[in-house]
Symmetry: C2
Subunit: 392 residues, 2 copies
């Protein structure tokens, strides 16, 4: 309802992207007047989101020195994240720059009992906060989950591998933590994390292509996450890019997910005798260790993934496509193959630098979940409400 705060969002976003930075520079970056920057900085500092950065910038020899501002990290505020996966929840507490300050992995006791899973996650999150960062105030909680998420309602509509349906994640977690909760899909959360804190940070539009046990994409354009009418945008799982002989539960053949998902590809490698167990991690390890057959298989998979990336380039034409896939992240051969295949397949011939592997390490999941909430904070920073105590 209230479209205010857009100038403040521009200021905070510029400060996030350009580190400690002088106010005049922010004015140039945002197109705002220096006066507006000063006022917005004061407002944001009042909320504890910005600080006068002590570390001085290189002095340019003449004129008044900068008194740079920076995103307030490590001071007062935190954001919590819960990532719901097949076998466990990943909890994380992040500072405003998306850096992990505390983490915890909580296996599901009973994966079928969603109330127990969520209640346990909430309780452990409260304890994590109390034990590690009691002096910091959490501003909100972001939740990322695979499957189909209705962001507006905060409901996990369908999670295939967990078998959950219509779980009111937001309300359940909000009641247990007392925090504002935002829920989004795994892929969109990852895309947001990449845009806010990752290598794609300076780009306006990006597409994130995730390949794991599921295959999903997310589209960000002009600063906004594109969810689509039914929160279903980015459905690339069933593109017919693979061998038509490979059957898919959806009833057709050659679907991307049925072909290149971690599970499917691990089984293929296992059947080919390349690895002893059907585990994609084993295949990646073997390839990293120099096994030629394993490497070839990983590159084969990347080539198929690349076709999906190329298709997204042609249809959406974003600045960059970020790919999260084991081989692309771990193996230089795969990263090279990805760029080469995209360049060869896409009609818009994106530059090599427009194809990026994911830039996060093992903490991806927690960062992505927290990014769901951080995104909202950066989109409308003046609406950050008085911090509520965690665990109420």
């Amino acid at each position: 309802m209230n479209p205010r705060g857009t100038a403040a969002a521009a200021v905070l976003g510029a400060v996030l992207r350009h580190g400690p930075v002088a106010r005049t520079t922010v004015a140039r970056l945002t197109g705002l007047s220096p006066a507006a920057v000063t006022r917005n900085c004061a407002a944001l500092a009042g909320l504890g989101l910005l600080t006068e950065s002590a570390g001085s910038l290189p002095y340019r020899g003449v004129g008044r020195p900068h008194s740079p501002v920076d995103v307030a990290t490590g001071r007062r505020h935190l954001v919590a994240g819960i990532h719901i996966a097949h076998e466990h929840c990943t909890l994380a507490l992040l500072d405003l720059r998306g850096r992990v300050r505390a983490r915890l992995r909580v296996p599901h006791r009973d994966p079928d009992d969603h109330e127990d899973v969520l209640a346990t996650a909430a309780d452990r999150l409260v304890r994590l906060h109390a034990e590690h960062l009691p002096g910091h105030v959490p501003l909100g909680l972001g939740v990322a989950a695979g499957g189909w998420v209705d962001t507006e309602a905060g409901v996990l509509v369908e999670h295939a591998s967990l078998g959950w349906r219509d779980v009111p994640v937001r309300d359940l977690l909000a009641a247990r933590t007392g925090l504002p909760v935002l829920v989004d899909s795994h892929a969109r959360a990852l895309a947001r994390a990449e845009q806010l804190f990752g290598a794609a940070g300076h780009h306006q539009s990006l597409v994130h292509l995730f390949v794991g046990n599921v295959v999903d994409a997310a589209i960000i354009t002009g600063g906004g996450t594109h969810r689509g009418t039914r929160s279903a945008a980015g459905g690339v799982a069933h593109l017919a890019l693979g061998d038509p002989a490979i059957e898919c539960p959806c009833g057709r053949g050659g679907c991307l997910e049925a072909t290149v998902s971690d599970r499917a590809w691990a089984w293929r490698a296992h059947r080919a005798g390349v690895i002893a167990r059907p585990s994609i991690a084993d295949l990646g390890d073997a390839a990293a260790a120099g096994d030629a057959a394993a490497t070839a298989l990983m590159v084969d998979r990347t080539r198929i993934v690349a076709r999906a990336a190329a298709l997204l380039f042609d249809i959406v034409n974003p600045d960059v496509v970020v790919v999260t896939e084991l081989g692309v992240i771990r193996l230089p051969e795969c990263a090279d193959a990805l760029r080469a295949e995209v360049a060869a397949t896409s009609r818009v011939r994106p530059s090599p630098s427009a194809v990026l592997p994911s830039s996060f390490g093992p903490d991806v999941l927690g960062v992505a979940a927290g990014a769901v909430q951080l995104d909202a904070i950066y989109a409308d920073p003046l609406n950050v409400r008085n911090p509520i105590r965690l665990g109420v």
Copy 2:
């Protein structure tokens, strides 16, 4: 630079979509206060874009009657459109509701000489205006062209079938007509026309899929046309949805355009002995006349087109997909096949009403071209400058 006028745009957009309408209704539709609506209506009326509609609305028996406002058509203002096709330019003069008030088709004298083509079009447009609607003031000129258009620069970067490259369409036409000129691609212009004036008018996001001698798509989300980094978004021409044995100039096989373009499909029908000449119009006529073989061929084509539509549903997840393709528009069998195939192929299972055939008749091209300019007017109506005399 000036982000004002957004409220005025909301008001004018609501009035456009909801016909003659009371100010209080507009307030409800836009979320603005009645006071703001009144003030914006006054401003828009001052510019000649709105009028107090004489035609009264059904009176509800109590209270002050509505004094409805409506988009000012047939009064003062016009918008011109020039559509540049392979063999001719289509000129049109539209009122603010996108209705064609005058039209003209101008064949190219020398298709290679882009200056001559554009100069001729501009001159004929000036004459068309002088002869038919001299009392009306043109607010601007919209240009639609196939191929790759850089909207920002107003340059036709590449038009394959005409062989033009880097033609500064905007500047050439602006110099000849004295009007503000906006240029966009054929597909995006059509999409805009559908959203502004067509059956998809009430939807926030839509995808337009065009199948003619070229195949192209355009994406509109949240009120904005999505152009992509290089103005290349919507490239579906080379999706591998057809028979891989069909070669494409791009070097690969089975590309959508190589398979289902008017030319390609007409040749297929011709080779199959269904029609005497390789003309898609003949095939359509035959099907409309009841020829079973022709109908089957048209439906076959629609099925392939439907796969592209389904793919766009899954990736972009718009409210509606509008399809402009001869069979879908002319033959009920094709329209049915389209809906059925999309429902069967898309993962989001869009409702039948989310798949629409194009809603314009033979004047599509002129309407689309004008819509490029009308879109800009509706996006920022207060920026409509003092009308310039056409032909200066």
